[in-house]
Symmetry: C2
Subunit: 393 residues, 2 copies
Amino acid sequence: MTEDIGAFVPGPRVRIEGQPGGPLSGLTFAAKDLFDVAGVPTGGGNHDWPTGRPVPTRHSWAVQTLLDAGATLIGKTITDEVSLGILGENAFDGTPVNVRAPGRVPGGSSSGSAAAVAAGICDTALGTDTGGSVRVPSSFCGLYGIRPTHGRIDTTGMLPQAPTSDTTGWFARDAATFARVSSVMLGEAIPTALPNKLIVAVDAFGFADPDVAEALKPMVERLTMVIGGVREEIMAPQGLSVWARAQRTLQPVEAYNTFKDWLDTGNPRFAFSVAKALVMGSLTPPAEQSWAALMRQEARGRMRYLLPAGTILCLPTTPFPAPLRGQPLSVLDPLRDRITCLCAQGGLAGHPQVNLPGAAVGGLPVGLSIIGARGSDATLVAVAQAMERAAGA
Amino acid sequence: MTEDIGAFVPGPRVRIEGQPGGPLSGLTFAAKDLFDVAGVPTGGGNHDWPTGRPVPTRHSWAVQTLLDAGATLIGKTITDEVSLGILGENAFDGTPVNVRAPGRVPGGSSSGSAAAVAAGICDTALGTDTGGSVRVPSSFCGLYGIRPTHGRIDTTGMLPQAPTSDTTGWFARDAATFARVSSVMLGEAIPTALPNKLIVAVDAFGFADPDVAEALKPMVERLTMVIGGVREEIMAPQGLSVWARAQRTLQPVEAYNTFKDWLDTGNPRFAFSVAKALVMGSLTPPAEQSWAALMRQEARGRMRYLLPAGTILCLPTTPFPAPLRGQPLSVLDPLRDRITCLCAQGGLAGHPQVNLPGAAVGGLPVGLSIIGARGSDATLVAVAQAMERAAGA
């Protein structure tokens, strides 16, 4: 497979061999350029980010964990600027090619990681997911991808954005690799027991494009076969758009607070859309923030109620497949807002979510997500394996 | 004088000889990178501005006029991004050195033009002034500088920002050169008759730092000697800060409208402060805009009342000399707001204004401005000459 898809950050490619003999021996991985690699400046997808910052002297926890388990690091990948973006178009470093959907965006912000795995350049890759940054590129590039339970994976050495939503995730092309990597990252074996109740989030299926809902039907049927005990529920009684509004209120405020000292002292350059998100974060009225914090509590309560141990919920990961590259903001902004309607529960409630590939609309991948109880990450990976087996059967 | 002061845009330096035998023969000039020069991309101080735009095939009116009059173009100078800035620190191209105030900003947005003239690299230079972009660097660099009557100078081939405030101006180190260039640009002889009434804007002197007001006293006394008929008046009965608020409301809205298609289709990179100004412009409530438009009418009426033919008004050009380079936005933003309090009348009312050098605070230049009736540009230049003669006498 060609490597010329613009997935890696410009400049010399870093390579660090994994420890011999580990459970991931023989695998290669890439790391989103938010993860520290010792001796390499962390770029953060913004050319002014590294200025005046020390070069990391230690690997981030995630990179160290994969190296210790035997995987070999083959490069650092392009990210949307300081992970603020969901489509994967970076004004500094360009847009990685989505080999599964040529002419389309890869999704972001973990754009280069998803693109590199989709292109077969590496076996797995580290991403981050605050508002959808692993889930969306997984869906658009046709990959397995996980947003783990919030707070479960050590984020040491990962450039933060909105810490109450930030997570470390990863991608793979096949369920077996996905399970190997997940077992190492989660620090537990992938179980054999599966959940026995399945919720279909009817509001989320209704919100997706009709052809996406249609394309996902066979996967939902397969999932029903694998899990059993299916029932339909509204996931967000207050409205998906209301949950999205809460997330779109809280996340930019938190991002602004993360970066405000840098903005003040460095006056760094950003693509207009990124700067705008930060400005909007700085302008959010306290009453909006208070309301959003309460809505987050409601969403947490709802997800906890829906998802006791042994139950999973499924929904379309994205409402549509990957949009075309290079479109105006006036086209992309409403698309981004629709994506947030399906992704907001991740940042709000912090439950683990896995994207399952296997469907397409007009040849373009689109994924089915499964969400479980907090801490049930490994069980979701087990479901992914069972689904792949069922598809092959 | 060294040329290594970072005043010119990166890349090969353009040079175009002036027509032989013209009134400006023997003079050299530079053009702010908002003015088209045939065959050279217009950079606009932002590395994403030239993308996808045709290279100009004609000179801007101002460049053509100076060339036709015999002056030789020796380069294009750094500007704040799309002229949005008043201090002269450009995140893409750097900060030109202010040789008159080392370690300090040159002022902007016509930063490179002012810096180059101050350093003796050229005799004159073209700038633009929307909210103070000629006046402020004139004050900070100790130069003669003019913001002409709004609408008087043809702006063809000049990158616009807020057209109802935009003007083309120029700088010089001495009054004789200033008069030669002004006569050509204004298309009229510099008169010998001087105004005979002088207004001292007491609100503006009260608003400036006390040591600036004190340092300007000898110049005001000299001006009184030259003009006679002195009286004190409040320039802005509604408040300098109220006029500034109106200008700070109208100008970003207009700038946003100028650039919004580019923002939408290009999602260009900007320094955070510049993007923020554009975002704020896009968010301004219509009621604020309506109020500001009415205040502009009040300001116009007031300036017309104060300045019949034969009367000029004087005020400090800036409330303080050039601030230190490289300060945080939290320090610079309040300084910028104070500058606007003394500059707002230019954009609001469109009267001509000339900065007279000759004072300093702690060795740092600070200028005295004179403002006249609309169309009295040449008379203000005559006053500049008379002041230089009086200082030498």
